[in-house]
């Protein structure tokens, strides 16, 4: 994976110095809160319900064991012994003191990490397929492009005060594991008949209060023009995106209002101009980055067959281990969704354990997934049993990947100052109701996603089952959506009827699964059945 050189390191070190100075000026009174707020947000420091919250970037979700270990140590040293992995492939700490923030950034910088642009109206951390470089179905590893984008977007002077936040996601496979079309810009690395790599660019997707699926703005772009093209995309947005209403300020609204065709025309015009400026890094830079993402030294002779006589282990392998591009290896997903637990939370000890496993068994690499789980991307199948045992001892071996227990939930009203309702207790109740893993497996792939308000941080629009927390006269209430997806078949869920109390919604979901079981045909997922038979049978069962 990518290693900082002295240039990259100088940038994060300079950032620590800059932010330390800003905090000192805030504490001395030289900076008022109004002036300080945007500066701390650019370093991922929010003021949340109970304390300051720090969001640390995990660029394209990839990190090494040392970095992961540092995340655990920070949880112990400056927080209350845990962290929350998020749908943005980041980690958030909930109990940070302002006076500690510069020291935390310095600790992060010591392992090549930072919190740069994890909030604010700027280009945020680029997310990517969490199986990049490992998946058997991959066309090309998207991470070299994501790293090029990281550098290009870091402290980009022209795009630091955009109309609104800006999120880029990139994938290199037809299977979309990054909700690519639900981002401001979604990029897919593709190949043509001649085997050359190109980029397909989608612009104007997003969730929030106005969910939209991004249209294709350019079908094929030379990878050696990516920076110039994105520069053009951003410049058009910076100049013409709406600033009169923050709810209409995302690029999806601009693309929607002027139309994809007109947006494309403006971008092409700007692109032609920008190509004359020589802003594009040379091919040698992309080659330098690509070399750092070269395959680790896989043992091509590693055996495929392993002893699966322990049924619990076999179950976990079947559910949580994916096909790797190299025979004899597997991709392990560590579920951060124990039955009845808090989705995405991990203790400092668990974080350090995962770091150790990555160091010992996965070529020093981990990934954070947008579904709030952790991946060990390159594991020899013969090592799986040892890993499973250590995970199991630490409560990290729940075999529920992509099942109804693998719930995405935003922090909700337990932590978030924008929330209308709590998300986590609902996730815990649903997870407890469906605790039986065999029952979960019978229900098959079922993506359940919960947001505590319309901002949709928990991707509720994209859940096969989505739940949205609302405020009904001061009381928490939940709306139920069906039919969303964030895979290659991206679709937006729709609200099926009147809202529910917390207990009401758990019952409603149970009834919906009964409809599915009764109506499914062979091999159909919940989503497929819903798409085939429509809302009516579900409504009848739930409200009837």
């Amino acid at each position: 994976m990518y290693q900082y050189d002295t240039h990259d390191q100088a940038m994060v070190d300079a950032r620590v110095a800059e932010f330390s100075d800003q905090v000192a000026r805030r504490l001395s009174g030289a900076l008022a809160e109004d002036q300080f707020r945007p500066l701390r947000l650019k370093n991922g420091l929010y003021l949340q319900l109970h304390a300051y919250m720090l969001r640390v970037a995990v660029p394209y979700g990839t990190l090494n064991a040392r970095q992961m270990r540092m995340l655990g140590d920070i949880a112990d040293k400056y927080d209350r012994g845990y962290g929350h992995f998020t749908t943005r492939q980041n980690i958030q700490y909930n109990w940070i003191k302002l006076e500690d923030a510069p020291a935390i950034l310095a600790d992060l910088a010591s392992v090549g990490m930072h919190a740069i642009q994890t909030s604010g109206n700027c280009i945020r951390n680029t997310t990517a397929d969490h199986f990049a470089g490992a998946a058997a179905d991959e066309v090309a590893d998207p991470r070299p492009y994501a790293e090029l984008l990281r550098q290009w977007s870091t402290f980009h002077p022209e795009f630091d005060y955009l109309p609104r936040k800006f999120k880029v996601a990139i994938i290199g496979s037809d299977v979309d594991r990054a909700a690519m079309k639900l981002h401001d810009i979604g990029i897919q690395v593709v190949t043509n008949a001649a085997g050359e790599e190109g980029l397909r660019i989608h612009v104007g997707g997003g969730m929030g209060r106005t969910p939209m699926i991004a249209p294709v703005i350019r079908d094929w772009l030379s990878p050696l023009q990516m920076v110039s093209y994105l520069e053009a995309c951003l410049r058009v947005y910076n100049r013409y995106g709406r600033r009169d209403n923050k709810y209409k300020a995302r690029i999806k609204i601009l693309v929607h209002e002027i139309g994809a065709e007109e947006y494309r025309r403006q971008v092409e015009q700007e692109f032609a101009h920008i190509l004359t400026l020589g802003l594009e890094p040379p091919p040698a830079e992309l080659a330098r980055i690509k070399a750092q993402f070269a395959d680790p030294a896989f043992d091509r002779a590693a055996p495929v067959a392993i002893d699966l006589s322990d049924p619990d282990f076999a179950l976990w392998v079947d559910q949580n281990v994916h096909a790797h591009k190299v025979q004899g290896y597997g991709i392990v997903t560590i579920s951060l969704k124990p039955t009845g637990g808090i989705p995405g939370d991990a203790s400092a000890d668990q974080i350090r354990l995962m770091a150790d496993l990555a160091r010992d068994f996965s070529f020093d690499e981990l990934r954070v997934t947008h579904a709030q789980n952790i991946v060990l991307p390159h594991v020899k199948r013969t090592d799986l049993h040892a890993i499973w045992q250590r995970l199991d001892e630490a409560g990290l071996a729940t075999p529920n990947l992509d099942l109804i227990g693998d719930i995405i939930a935003c922090p909700g009203l337990d932590y978030c100052s924008l929330a209308n309702a709590r998300s986590i207790p609902l996730a815990q109740k649903i997870s407890a109701r469906f605790a039986d893993v065999e029952r979960q497996r019978d229900l098959g792939e079922l993506k359940l996603k919960i947001s505590g308000c319309i901002n949709a941080c928990g991707h509720h629009h994209a859940g096969h089952i989505g739940i949205l927390g609302v405020d009904r006269k001061g009381v928490e209430n939940y709306q139920l959506l069906f039919g969303g997806s964030e895979g290659a078949d991206t679709s937006l869920g729709s609200i099926i009827g009147p809202g529910f109390s917390e207990d009401g919604i758990v019952d409603a979901i149970e009834r919906a699964t009964q409809v599915y079981v009764a109506q499914r045909t062979d091999g159909e997922r919940f989503l497929d059945t819903y798409r085939r038979i429509g809302t009516a049978p579900f409504k009848d069962a739930i409200y009837g």
Partner: protein, 142 residues
Amino acid sequence: MAETLIRLRDDSASTAPVVAFADLSDTANALAVRLMPGDDARALLPLLGQLELVEVAFPGFNDGRGYSAASILRESGYTGELRAVGDVLVDQISHYHRVGFDAFAPDQPITRAAIDTAIATWPEVYQRTVDGRPAIWALRHG
């Protein structure tokens, strides 16, 4: 000493009256113009040869359109004074400088020393912009 106009140029400041962009058509021979955030900087391109001063207004520091306006003017060869006017804060100065501003008229006075420190915030930079600094990729590959 904190000042309300800081110029990083050696020439003397233009004394021409500053014409609002909206009034330009009446004063085709204007030497100094002020752009508001919504004004199209490209409409000034035919005048670039004659302009001595372009003021770019920042009514609020968080309206970033002026950064694109400045970049566009410099990319098109404008060499006169480019002045950021209004809610111009020290923490934004390095970015202003990178997109081509060479003068600042902040509502709240800033010292020259603070401006110089701010410009030096980033020892190196990742992007090539109109400020001519070599991008890190250029340093890496000579």
